[in-house]
């Protein structure tokens, strides 16, 4: 099929991809602007198979959002609420423990827990959350608190980020999710989330976490006002950070969901835009081991197709997904383990159940 890639004017990039050579930002621009999604997907699939063979990963996980109270109130977010808002909530440590206890009969390997930037919960609350979860389910891996939250927690603790992380790790933190990255561009942050930690600040927290031996993920929120150039700068910043630290596990492009946000004039992302972001990130982020097609965001159908367009991971069973569903996501809130396995098998891949750090737990 290489002839089709050359016909599409992508022969030079194909040669680089086959030779394992790093793509330039100009290459990335050409890929983003190219109309032939099949050709982009084919190129991304070469890298995907080089790195992860025929395997497609998923995890058995539980999502918990301890609070939606947030002082940042980003315009693209339908989840965050001001304290006192009728839809605002916060869970006590006991309530979170109950959530964990309710599902003790399921083989959950990871608890994914994020919240807002809460104005007055003390640092001890976050430590108690981690300890509480570990009390109920000692063996579970807790992936919690985005870099934005970690930065906030360091301020609450009155300590540098590394010391804050040590305290959190001691209480049970296992790794850090990729949220809060949005698009690093100061222009985008000024318009959409000016209260939020800057892009540079986000990367700095990730670098410090990596230096403490904590793995993290990275995301990019696409499909709103960002330009191709801003996406490429975002990917480049992640690639440079990863060169220095090797601490990122997965990159997860996140499709913007406009409903119930202050940016509701935008349309939902298209299937081609979803696949393009997955494929181009696979091609540009040559030092990231994994690219995740998060089915909650793009839908199970595109996530399945994405396994041939660069992605090697479908995230997990999730359950009770709140953040994207408040923004009008019409996807299911949970996908059974068996459904995930079937989607992967019908895509011609081998399903691999993993833990957070991509250790293989079972193959199907």
């Amino acid at each position: 099929m290489d002839g089709y890639i050359e016909q599409a004017g992508l022969g030079r990039i194909l040669a680089k991809v086959r030779g394992g050579e790093r793509l330039s930002l100009d290459d990335g621009r050409q890929l983003y602007e190219h109309p032939n999604i099949l050709a982009i997907g084919y190129l991304a699939n070469i890298v995907r198979e080089k790195k992860n063979g025929n395997q497609a990963f998923f995890i058995y996980n539980q999502h918990i959002n301890y609070s939606n109270i947030c002082t940042n109130l980003c315009k693209f977010c339908a989840f965050g609420k001001k304290k006192g808002h009728e839809l605002a909530y916060e869970m006590s440590v006991e309530e979170v423990k109950t959530k964990v206890r309710e599902r003790l009969d399921e083989p959950i390997d990871e608890i994914h827990m994020v919240g807002g930037i809460h104005p007055d919960l003390p640092f001890s609350y976050y430590l108690d959350l981690l300890r509480g979860i570990k009390e109920v389910r000692p063996e579970v891996h807790i992936q919690a608190f985005t870099c934005v939250e970690i930065h906030h927690l360091a301020q609450l603790a009155g300590k540098p980020v590394d010391e804050t992380l040590h305290a959190l790790m001691e209480a049970g933190l296992g790794s850090i999710p990729g949220g809060g990255a949005e698009v690093f561009s100061p222009r985008i942050r000024q318009i959409t989330c000016k209260e939020k930690l800057s892009g540079e600040g986000w990367l700095e927290v990730a670098r410090i976490a990596h230096a403490q031996g904590l793995h993290t993920n990275a995301t990019m929120l696409y499909g709103h006002i960002e330009t191709v150039e801003e996406r490429l700068q975002h990917l480049d910043a992640l690639r440079r950070t990863q060169d220095a630290t090797q601490g990122f596990l997965a990159f997860i492009p996140l499709a913007f969901h406009p409903k119930n946000t202050e940016m509701s004039e935008h349309s939902n992302t298209t299937g081609i835009n979803d696949l393009k972001n997955i494929a181009v990130s696979r091609l540009m982020l040559d030092n990231f081991p994994h690219i995740k097609a998060y089915w909650v965001m793009v839908g199970p159908k595109i996530a399945q197709v994405a396994l041939a367009f660069g992605a090697d991971d479908m995230d997990g069973t999730v359950k009770e997904e709140v953040i994207t569903h408040m923004a009008g996501a019409e996807t299911e809130q949970a996908l059974g383990h068996k459904t995930l396995i079937r989607l992967i098998q019908e895509a011609g891949r081998q399903p691999v159940q993993r833990d957070t750090l991509y250790n293989v737990l079972a193959t199907f």
């Binding site: 089709y4 099949l38 084919y42 298209t270 299937g271 595109i302 197709v305 079937r342 895509a347 011609g348």
Partner: protein
């Protein structure tokens, strides 16, 4: 495989064995590239068409009781309905106000309405000037059985009353094993083909469909495509082929046995394989009604050159628990985003 790929690239016809080999061995990328190349050869202009229309189901009362159907009501079910003239008129008016050009008119196999009932309905509808794309082959066959008239006579009378073209529904899988298990009271595969052949001979254009992903084997899908290709060789009367996967929710079939919903990858593969095998079909439609907007858009790279219809109203797939809605504006946006020019069309694929 190399030989098959070369054949397709040179515009040669593939046979059934080659179809089966592609189905087994080709990657999603290979199928996409090949189907897209064929689509570009048939449609060198970067245009994707769609039609503005509405489904009108004149009745849900049906004696066929197909196991895959969540829409029908048995004749003794008090919930069964026949649409009134007033409802029909309102639906047509609403369609025309939205720029609609045609009505997709289909209904259940009603136990006792005479042929005159359908003739009157057509004459009434044609006073509005709208194109009536109506009565799938099982309905026509049923009219012929009830009236004791030949298929040709039934068709001629319907044409005289205003019927403009025939939709390809009720084809399901054109294999007698599948039909005798799923829909034993419906017309057979041969009879479905016979209705279409007669219609084509009388100058009516029709579409063809395939509902897959239930109890059929890949060989039976091939049999379906082979029958369609053979008939198209004889008549050239089909305008388009529309494959879509069985939607199991609320159907007797899914209640009786576990049937997994066809996944997106399997849909795209069959779509592309159909584009490759049906070399004498000019148009292939994407099915956003069953696949949603994202996969429908992607279908444009897997052989589809048409986005189907805006379906101002749709009842049959909705009864099986699937509720995607798309406006004309949204269809146009998806088509443009895929790099194509959207173009409203008529039933015969000429521009509206």
């Amino acid at each position: 495989m190399q030989r098959i790929i070369a054949k397709i690239e040179q515009g040669e016809r593939i046979d059934g064995q080659e179809f089966l080999q592609l189905e087994r061995e080709a990657s999603l990328h290979q199928l996409g590239f090949l189907a897209n190349a064929v689509r570009q050869r048939l449609h060198p202009q970067p245009v994707v068409t769609y039609v503005i229309d509405r489904n009108i189901n004149y009745t849900d009362i049906c004696i066929s009781a197909c196991k895959f159907c969540a829409f029908f009501k048995a004749p003794d079910d008090p919930k069964g309905q026949v649409l009134s003239r007033l409802e029909l008129a309102e639906k047509i008016q609403e369609t025309q106000e939205l720029g609609g050009t045609q009505i997709l008119l289909q209904g259940g196999l009603h136990p006792d309405k005479p042929l005159e009932f359908y003739e009157d309905m057509l004459r009434f509808m044609k006073t509005t000037g709208i194109h009536v794309h109506g009565f799938s082959p099982p309905e026509i066959f049923h009219f012929s059985q009830l009236s004791g008239l030949s298929l040709a006579t039934v068709l001629q009378r319907l044409i005289a009353a205003g019927l403009d073209s025939i939709p390809g529904g009720g084809a399901e899988i054109l294999s007698n094993r599948v039909r005798s298990e799923m829909a034993p009271k419906k017309c057979s595969a041969d009879q479905w083909i016979e209705v279409m052949e007669e219609a084509h001979n009388l100058g009516l254009r029709t579409t063809a469909t395939m509902m897959f992903g239930h109890i059929e084997t890949i060989e039976e899908r091939l049999e379906h495509l082979q029958r369609l290709r053979d008939l198209q060789d004889r008549t050239g009367g089909f305008t388009a082929f529309i494959p879509w996967p069985f939607q199991p929710d609320h159907t007797p079939l899914a209640a009786a046995r576990k049937i997994e919903k066809t996944t997106a990858v399997s849909y795209l593969r069959i779509l592309a394989l159909s584009r490759l095998f049906l070399d004498n079909f000019q148009n292939i439609q994407a099915s956003w009604v069953t696949q949603g907007p994202k996969i429908a858009q992607l279908s444009l790279f897997f052989g589809a050159n048409d986005f189907g219809s805006t379906m101002i109203e749709e009842n049959v797939v909705a009864a099986a628990g699937v509720h995607f809605r798309l406006s004309e504006a949204e269809i146009r946006r998806l088509v443009r985003d895929a790099g194509y020019q959207p173009q409203q069309r008529l039933m015969d694929y000429t521009p509206a």
